[in-house]
Amino acid sequence: MDELLGEFISETQETLEALAGVVVEWEADPSDRDRLDSIFRFFHTVKGSCGFLNLPRFERLSHAAEDVLSEIRSGRSVPDPATVNAVLAVMDRIGELAEAVASGVSLPSENDDLLIAALRQDSAVAGKTVPTVGSPAPPLQKSGSSINSLRTIRLPLTLIDQLMNGVSDMVLARNELSRKLRDHISDPDIDSAFERLSTCVADMRDAISKTRMQRVDRLFAAVPRMVRDLGRELGKRIDLDLEGGDVEMDREMVEMVLDPLTHIVRNSIDHGIETPVQRAASGKPEHGTLRLVARQSGNQIVIEISDDGKGIDTDALVRKAVQNGTVTPDTAARMTEQEKLDLIFLPGLSTAKSVTAVSGRGVGMDVVRANVERIGGVIALENQPGRGLKITLRVPLTLTIIPGLIVTAGGQQFAIPRSAIVEILHENNATLSIARIGGACIATIRNTRHSMIDLEDVLGLPRHYQAGPRTVMVVRSTSGVPFAMSVASVDNHEELVIRPASPLIMATGMYAGMTLPDNGQPMLLLDAGGLANTANLSNVDEDRGNQAVDLGKPEARPIEMLSTLRFEELTGEERLVRLSLVERVEDIDTGLFGLSGGKAFVHVDGRLLRVANGHHTFDQPTVTALRLRDGDREVCYPVARVTDIVQVPSTPDMALSEGLISGVVLIDDAHLEILDPFTLFAGVPDEPVAPIDVPRCILAESDDVWAKEILSPLLKQAGYDVLIGMPEGHALRPDDVILCVNADTAKALSTDRPIVQLRSATKPHSNEDRSIYRYDRNAVMAAIDSARRGGVA
C-alpha cells in the first residue's frame, strides 16, 4: 500500500509540474480543447486513484474541479479568469497535499471548503447548477496514445547514482589494468581483448550518463505559471514564448540553473517589461514579450532569456556605482558601454528604484552570476536601452563532468575549471611584468593591472624550488574582477568528474569540489572566487578604464633587455620593432589598402589608418600587418611575415641616428635592424585622412534589383564604397569604376571613366562582347581592379 501511495504522490507531483504550463495556455485560449482535456484528465486520474487509496481530501478537491471542468467541456459554461484562478488554486492545494502526505505532516483542511466554494460559485454565476455526483469521464482511455508511446519505467535516483558509481569504479579498474598490462610483455590477443573491454566500458559510461539527462522542459515548467502570476500581480501583460524544451541536460544541472533562471525571469518581468500604459506611451505593443530559448551548442547548453522591455539604464547604474563609491567618477567617465553594463554584476547595485515584493530584495545579478559561474557557466548581457535585454546563460551539459586544468603548487596537484581561466602566461613572458610592493603583488599584462596571488601563499603551502619559470594564470573570479594567480606549473587539461566535497572542506571556501582523475589520486577543485576572497583581494577600483600606458619600459637590470617583434619586411629585410608598440598582428585584405594624395592608408574596423611604410599594392589577397600604437594614434605596418619575439639589449650593438632605423643588433649571427618608433610615427603626421579615399564603385542603374541587392553587398564586402546611381552634380573621382548591368545604359553614359559591363547570360553574345558574366565573382573583381588601375595610370 505504501508503495502504491508513494507512486501516486510522485506521479501527481510530476503531472502537476507538467500541467502548470498547460493551464496558463488554456487560460489564454479557453477554447483550446486539448488543454482543457489534459487538465480534466489530471483531476479525473487523481480522483480515481485516491478513491481506493482512501484519500478523501484529494477526492473532494479533484471531484469539485472535475465537475467544473466537465461543465466547460460540455459547453455549458465558459472559463472566466475567476474559474481559472479557482482551478489553479485547487491544483496548488493538491500539490501541497501531496507534499504533505509524502512528508507525513498534516495540513489544515478548512481552506478546502473555501476553494471548492470558489469553484462552485463561479460556475453557478455562469448560470449552472453543479451536479454533486461524480460525472462519468470516458476520454481517459484514449489519453495514453496521445501523450507518448515510449515505454518507460520509474527508477529510484539512488539506483542510478549507484550505477554511475559502479561505472566509475569500472573505469578506474580498467585504467589500473591497462597500466599493469603495459608493464608486461605485450600480447596482441590480450591487447585486442582489452581494447574491446575498454570500448564497452566507455559505451556503458556514456549510456549511464544519459540516464541522468532530463529535458529542459522541466526547467521551463514553472515559468508560465510564474509569468502569469507575476504579470497579474504587477498589472503587466506578457506573452511568453518557450522554445527548445526538448533539449536535454543533466538532472543536477537543471536544479542548479533553476534558481538563476527564476531570478532572471522575475527581474525581467519586474524591472524589464513596462506596464501596458508605459509601453503604449513608448510606442510598443501593450503585451510585453518574454522569450526563453534553450539549445545545445557543443557540450554546452545555451539558455537565452530575452524581453522587449526597457533594458538596463547604464547611466543610472554608473550613477549608483559612483554614489556608493564602487567606481570613481574619473573611471566612470572612461568606461565603455559594456563595462558600464557589467556593473550590474557588482554586489549591491540594482537599477530598481524601489524594493518590490518580486525582486530587488538585495539578492541581485551578482548572486545569479556567482551561481552560474559556480557550475562552470558563463552569463552575458546584451542590452538595448529602451528596447529590451537579452541574457544568455551558457552552462556545461553536465555538472559532473567539466573541462579542467590540472595545476601544481607546493608539490601538490589541484584542478581548476577551464571556464575560470582567461589566459595563461609564463612568468617570463614579455607582455607580463610583476611588481611586488609592501607585500602586495601586481601583475601587469598588456597594460592591464591585476592583483596577483601565489597559490601556495593562499593555501599555506611551501614553495618548492623549480628550475623553469612559474606560470601565471588570469582567473575570472565570481566578483567579476579577474585576478592573476601564480602556480608552479600547469600540467594537463582533462575532463574531470566532479563530486561535491564534504562540508568540512567546503567550509574553507577555497574549494568547489573534488575529483578523482584517472591516476586514482583524489584532487581538489579550486574555487576561483573563493581564493580571491581568502586572499582578501580588493574587488574595488580594479577598474579597467585605468590602464597603464607605458609598459614598454623594461625593468632596471644590469643589462636592460627589450622585447621586440622580429619580422620580415615586404622588401625582404629582417627587422625588429618594440613589442610594446605592437597593438596586434593581423591579416588584412589587400583590397582594403589604397592611396590618396600620395599617402597610403588602409580601411580597418570602420576607420582609416595610415600605412607607415607606404605600401599599398600587394600581389597577395591578404597581407600580414602590424598595428602599431604610440599611445593614442595607430598606424598600420604591412610586413611579409612575423618571425618571432626576441629579447634584445635596449642599447643596440650599433646605433644609427638617422632614418627609420635606430640601430642594429646581432641575434644568432644575423644582424637585425631596429625600427625607430620616433621616426616611424613622425613620418605619418596626425592629419585626418579624408574618407574619400575608399575606392568607389558606381552602379549606374539605381533601379536594378540585382545590382542593389546582390552586387552591392559583394562589393562592400570586398572593401569598396558603393554608390548606387550616377552621382549628380558631383564630379567623378579619378579612380571611380562604373558598373553597368544593361548594355544600353553603358552606351548612354558619357564619361571617360572605365565601365565594367556585366551580363546575365553565361556566354558572351559575340566576340566583341567585352561584358562579364555577372556571377563570375573572380572575373568581376578582376575587371574592376584592372579598370581602376587603368584609370589611375
Binding site: S168, T508, T534
Partner: protein
C-alpha cells in the same frame, strides 16, 4: 538493547565503542592526499575505489596534534549526511553485543572527550567510551568555519 552490536576500537590511546549501524566498513589506510588550508584533524582525501573519502584524524581532534604517519593504521568508513568519511583509528579489537547495554558516564571526563562521549560500554570487563561518529564531524565543522 541486548542486540545492539558495537565495534570496539582505540583512538588517542582511549578505547571507544561505536554502534555498528553507523559504520560502513573498516579498511586499511591507503595514501592520503593532504588538503591545504584545513585544521589539523582533517588529514586529507583518500580514494576508496571510485569514492573519495574525507579523512578525519580523530586523535588530532582529541589531542590537537596530528597523528604521525606511521601510526595511522585503519580507518572506519562512515556515511555521514551523504558524504563519505574515513575516521582514522589506531586499532580495532572486536565487534560484539554487550549484555548490559550502555552505562552512564561516571567520574570526571577530560574536556577533550566531553563533546564526543555519550556513555560507557563495557566489553570483557573493560570500559569503552561510547561515541557517535557524526559528533566527530559536526564540531569539526564549527572549528573549521
Amino acid at each position: 538493547m541486548m542486540n545492539q552490536l558495537y565495534l570496539f576500537a582505540c583512538v588517542a590511546g582511549t578505547p571507544i565503542a561505536v554502534r555498528t549501524e553507523e559504520i560502513e566498513a573498516v579498511v586499511k589506510l591507503t595514501d592520503i592526499s593532504p588538503v591545504p588550508g584545513m585544521p589539523p584533524h582533517i588529514a586529507g582525501l583518500s580514494a576508496l575505489r571510485s569514492r573519495v573519502l574525507t579523512m578525519i584524524d580523530v586523535a588530532a581532534l582529541i589531542r590537537g596534534v596530528p597523528t604521525p604517519h606511521e601510526q595511522r593504521e585503519l580507518a572506519i568508513i562512515a556515511d555521514i549526511s551523504s558524504h563519505s568519511y574515513g575516521l582514522i583509528v589506531e586499532g580495532v579489537s572486536d565487534i560484539c553485543t554487550v549484555s548490559e547495554g550502555p552505562l552512564p558516564l561516571r567520574g570526571r571526563l577530560s574536556p577533550a572527550w566531553m563533546p564526543f562521549a555519550q556513555a560507557i560500554v563495557e566489553n570483557e570487563g573493560e570500559p569503552h567510551l561510547l561515541v557517535s561518529l557524526a559528533s566527530f564531524i559536526d564540531p569539526a565543522l564549527t572549528l573549521a568555519a
